[in-house]
């Protein structure tokens, strides 16, 4: 065992040296012409759904849904989410039906072979604001707004060594919401002197794939009215919509963590029993 530890120590030294050199190389970049994105790393926010016992805050999800509906959904689809699943947000069946009925979806063909639109029902998915991706791109200066169903899992800023090792133990899995929150609140930064921002794009140091993005600042203070007295600020909107998008991307998160706890406790107890049995079985054999 001691030898293994020595080996690991030697390995650690080699790694540390090499990584130090590598990190130094990565740091050396020009502020006006950055080559690695995002320019600024998102801050780690507090989320009700983080950690082993995390749960979604229903009120927050409902506020997030409101922000999505009134702001994001003008451009961003959410194809994979069905209205019926909004019951998870604490809505009753009737409320879900009423909410769905505010949307129109295409159906058909009818008996005459014609497509028609009808009110959406609980089993329909959120309709897309554009008929197809080409239309979405054409309406948005060539950059189709991404679908939001999985956005909270499809965006995560790389954590780098050694943070990603610590993430295993801290169960950090909120890179997506942190990123969305950072991006939405990051529009007020000014580009550094000398940086050229392409026309029709907007500087945001938190954008994951470049120094600026096609989407302009989408939301400002007071734009969405909250009924529960929560602050109507960009920061709060961003938090709420990020939480909502996390739910949209991972609707079974609570079930997963709760099942996980039972499983871990069982495996621990079972493991202890097996270990005692193993000791008993081997008690008459030196090994």
């Amino acid at each position: 065992m001691k030898k293994i530890l020595n080996g690991l120590a030697a390995f650690g030294l080699v790694m540390a040296g090499a990584l130090g050199a590598a990190t130094a190389a990565e740091e050396a970049h020009n502020a006006a012409e950055p080559t690695h994105f995002p320019i600024m790393k998102p801050t780690q926010e507090k989320w009700s759904f983080s950690g082993p016992f995390g749960t979604y805050d229903r009120a927050q999800l409902q506020r997030g849904l409101k922000v999505y509906k009134e702001v994001c959904s003008a451009c961003h689809s959410m194809d994979l989410v069905a209205f019926r699943t909004l019951a998870d947000l604490g809505y009753s069946e009737e409320q879900v039906k009423a909410f769905a009925a505010e949307y129109e979806v295409e159906d058909g063909p009818n008996a005459d072979g014609e497509m028609f639109t009808r009110k959406a029902g609980p089993n329909d998915h959120f309709p897309s604001p554009f008929p197809n991706e080409a239309a979405a791109a054409a309406a948005n200066g060539g950059a189709a707004p991404p679908d939001m169903s999985l956005l909270a899992k499809a965006r995560a800023v790389e954590r780098g060594f050694p943070t990603f090792v610590f993430d295993i133990f801290t169960q950090y899995a909120e890179g997506g919401p942190d990123y969305i929150h950072a991006l939405l609140t990051g529009y007020d930064h000014e580009p550094p002197a000398g940086m050229e921002v392409a026309e029709g794009t907007h500087y945001n140091p938190f954008f994951i794939a470049g120094k600026s993005l096609a989407m302009a600042k989408p939301i400002s203070d007071g734009q969405v009215t909250y009924d529960d007295g929560s602050p109507e600020t960009v920061d709060q909107y961003s938090r709420d919509v990020s939480a909502f998008l996390m739910w949209a991307a991972e609707p079974h998160l609570e079930a997963r963590k709760q099942t996980g706890f039972s499983v871990m406790v069982f495996v621990l107890l079972f493991g202890a029993l097996v270990y005692l049995t193993k000791r008993k079985v081997w008690s008459n054999v030196a090994h």
Binding site: R84, P122, F266, F270, K280, N284
Partner: protein
């Protein structure tokens, strides 16, 4: 284990039994998701209600719609069909139960209880699946002018009741209601 007899055998046995039991419990718990995944999923369960516009059906016309993956026959019956179904004595029926999900389980298979009820006796809504082995019967055929299943020769009358052949039950009537004069909701 002969060298091990100094250890209290009851304690040892208890440990082995407890470990074995925990193993069985664990295996059963692991097996559950694999069985659970076979049940109808959330989208299938949620798609269980449809609305049908029947305004274009004049007496003698039928419509077949799909509900839960099965055909549902909606028929606007002619007065003759209603009359012939009403005249059948209950004693002559092979299955005297209405099989109508909108009524109690022991309702009798009278024509009114097979149809959409008072004032809507002309409407017959039923799952178009032969109660024998699941084929779709052909309409307005067979010995009783109702439905005839070509697979194994079951004859249904104009109220969808089994009269002859291997099928054991009348064709099932799903939960449905008229939400307006011209629209039926099934499910």
């Amino acid at each position: 284990m002969s060298a091990n007899d100094t250890i209290d055998p009851t304690r040892r046995d208890f440990l082995y039994v407890a470990t074995g039991m925990a193993g069985v419990v664990g295996a059963a718990a692991v097996a559950w998701p694999f069985i659970d995944q076979m049940r109808p999923d959330a989208s299938t369960l949620a798609a269980s209600s449809i609305e049908v516009d029947v305004s274009s059906l004049t007496p003698g016309m039928s419509l077949t719609v799909k509900w839960r993956g099965k055909p549902v026959f909606i028929r606007n019956r002619t007065p003759e069909e209603i009359k012939s179904a009403q005249e059948v004595p209950l004693a002559e029926l092979k299955d005297p139960v209405a099989r109508n999900a909108n009524l109690s389980g022991d309702a009798q298979a009278t024509d009114i209880d097979r149809s959409a009820g008072d004032g809507k006796e002309n409407w017959l809504v039923m799952v178009g699946v032969c109660t024998h082995l699941g084929c779709v019967p052909l309409g307005q055929q067979g010995d009783f002018g109702g439905w005839f299943c070509p697979c194994h020769g079951s004859h249904y009358d104009t109220a969808g009741r089994i009269r002859k052949g291997p099928a054991p039950e009348n064709m099932a009537i799903p939960t449905f209601s008229f939400i307006s004069d011209s629209t039926i909701r099934i499910g």
